[in-house]
Symmetry: C2
Subunit: 160 residues, 2 copies
């Protein structure tokens, strides 16, 4: 495990990446680094506006780069340093990547004051699907459900 | 707005993509299409295991492709058809993309029975950060918060 001084060093790197992305007009002021065994294995900064990709958040990019570096979709044993508390999309990505620990600097309230929707989206997650701004409807449920039966009976499936 | 019969047609296409991805070992049995003005503008299927990318979910890929097609990071006015209820990561991506309506076929309980963590991750979102499996710690908060002050005062920023 990294020592406290290492943790602050990694966080400062995430903040440096955030500032670099912002100052070069790649996107919003967000940066992230993924660390494995005390070594940075993936970095990212927000590139939403420059790439025209709403999913190009710093954490998503850092996770992708770490997976490429380590040759796996499973980052168990890794930790992530984020210049801001991860938004729901990035928190979900962190769970799917099986990252162990999140360190963050600014929080979702700070992001909201900067004009970002993190806090609003977290609040939406806390309501029932019927109450949410984005409406959600189920269609032909049997046909989608069948896929999981096919999946379970697929002999050469790779689980994740 | 598409008619009900169109909606079922789009959903069947999402399910077809899911089956295609599964049968070709690209990833799990998930597909999605983004529709704008009654026309498909982005498609995707799960490619987590083949791309070694835990963020390569069908919805994320469909959103990226739609943004590429339309040349924007803002999919306001679009709807998304998903073979399964979007996981928290994808739901977050849908919010950031400003998609208006979600249609889904199978639900998170069906996904859980297929061996996927959607329901577990949704449950984690419903607990406080202190109770979650992935631990979360704040470090040097002032240094990250400063980024948002710099952002607000940046004259040429592109908001999103």
């Amino acid at each position: 495990m990294p020592q406290l001084s290492d943790e602050n060093t990694f966080m400062k790197r995430a903040i440096e990446l955030a500032r670099h992305g912002m100052n070069n007009n790649f996107g919003g002021p967000f940066g992230a680094v993924v660390v494995n065994n005390g070594k940075i294995v993936g970095e990212g900064y927000n590139e939403v506006t420059s790439r025209k990709d709403p999913t190009a958040h710093a954490e998503v990019i850092a996770i992708r780069n770490a997976c490429k570096e380590l040759g796996t979709f499973d980052l168990s044993g890794c930790v992530i340093f984020c210049s801001c508390e991860p938004c729901p999309m990035c928190l979900g990505a962190i769970y799917w990547a099986r990252i162990d620990i999140i360190y963050y600097s600014a929080n979702r309230q700070n992001a909201a004051k900067g004009g970002f929707d993190d806090e609003f989206i977290f609040a939406e997650f806390g309501t029932s699907p019927q109450q949410r701004k984005v409406k959600c409807f189920q269609l032909i449920p049997d046909q989608g459900t069948t896929l999981f039966t096919e999946w379970i009976h697929k002999p050469d499936r790779t689980s994740y």
